[in-house]
Amino acid sequence: MNRLAVKAYELRQNVLDIIVSGGGGHIGGDMSSMEIMLTLYNRMNVSPDRLKDPDRDRFVLSKGHCVETLYAVLADKGFIDLDEVKAQFSRFGSEYFGHPHNTIPGIEMNSGSLGHGLSVGVGMALAARMDARAYRTYVVMGDGELAEGSVWEGAMAAGHYKLDNLCAVVDRNHLQISGTTEQVMTPGDLHARFAAFGWHVIDVADGNDVDQLNEAFDEAERTKGMPTVLIANTVKGKGSAVMENKASWHHHLPDAEEYRRISGDFAARKEALEHE
């Protein structure tokens, strides 16, 4: 049994509860990026006891709308209180709203407007180099986000400065709010595009597989002289047939029947993983 793989389904249920409590959320991308964030937070050098440690690894959720998963993972790692998030999400005056901000413990940068995070990560990685610190910087982006030109400004700078302490992850779930990424704006050969900007590119066949992600992050750490990007092939809405691969679930509030079915699917997959 893979403990983290099981945990991913426990946290999916927490994300579902957060979203239902708050009256809606970006559930499709939350589900596709769950294993990416969970895997990272179980290997990064971060701790709620050392929030300002200059040697901590840095994480930027450039696709900030998937904050519900970040909340669930941060709560699991002890940075924030899950019950408080569930009770407060999107409520009047709440600290917990629909995009990350850095007054919440464990969140480094405010995000939500797409296309900023990679260049922010470039700055963090440059700072590590200037200060001869060994921390690594991770940036998670969406595949729809890659249409933002500023992403490629950041990609260019990371390649130019050969930032091997920077690792980007593309949550390649193939869907965005209006349809497939191919219908909306062709992302083309992402492997070739990042490689052309001077990146080491790792295609993760199943970006919802914790072991495959860990292997890829290991390879990224071993890669010297260039930044690494993981093209993590994921499933939007991963975890329940009710929402998998459905663009209409990009942002959604499940009704009572949907909640019951999704919750049941999560429990069934969790149980199956427990017996693997």
Partner: protein
Amino acid sequence: MNKIANRAVMCEVLKEAAARDRNVVVLCSDSRGSGSMTSYAEAFPSQFVEMGIAEQSLVSTAAGLASCGKRAFAISPASFLSTRSYEQCKVDCAYSGTNVKLIGISGGVSYGALGMTHHSAQDIAAMSAIPGMRVYLPSDRHQTRKLFEALVKDDQTAYVRLGRNPVEDIYEEGSVPFEMDRATVLCEGTDVLLVACGEMVKPAKDAAALLAAGGVSAGVLDMYCVKPLDREGLLSAAAGKKLVVTVEEHAPFGGLGSMVCQVTAGADPRRVICLALPDAPVITGTSAEVFRHYGLDAEGIARAVKGALL
């Protein structure tokens, strides 16, 4: 005539700061020459980051560096910095609370005949509208030094607009009256108050002299701190005057004039006239030609004051 541009003074202050503090970092967008930062880049290569012609990435990267303890100065032409990377200034600097100083060089109509693409006549309005963003337009090189000496020490984001060309001295080296976020009273007057910022301070001061010769007593306020506007300084200087006149190298909306009106309308209602660039692309010419054309030189300001007092 002074030959030292304000941007050159910025470079000197940043070199002094970088020598003291290795966390001082300068970023440019293929703009080290325009920013007079070439000698900095040569002297402190490990505290200089070239981002290429990519203003959005310039600002985000500066914010990433600042989030890791750096005192980041992102230096880029004001026209591009204040609009191309506006959202990065809003989200990555002001909203995220990072210590990034955004330095808009060749501001206003400094680039003259290069045209509207290169003019920044809306940067005060744009930057002032961002919660948490401070906006400074120093007048001469001596005030620029004082401002940058203060900015290298503080921990919050700010936007500074600098002109490209040397401007005549207003203050005397060694005795520059400067208090952070407090306007400087250049001269007292009884009839009219002229409020100016940046390159318009000098013509405003000269206009006061012209007006004095014609029997009109005008005070002049150097409001280099456009945001936070020195409200108390303004109200104190405006008290008892028949007229307040604002002068700025900026479009007529959302700049110094608008902000002065907001204060006076609410606290001390009185007549204010706002002298500014037009709500249109600016005519081709040097800064001096442009200012003269729109009545933003000393004679034009004096003329407007006399006309308003009739």
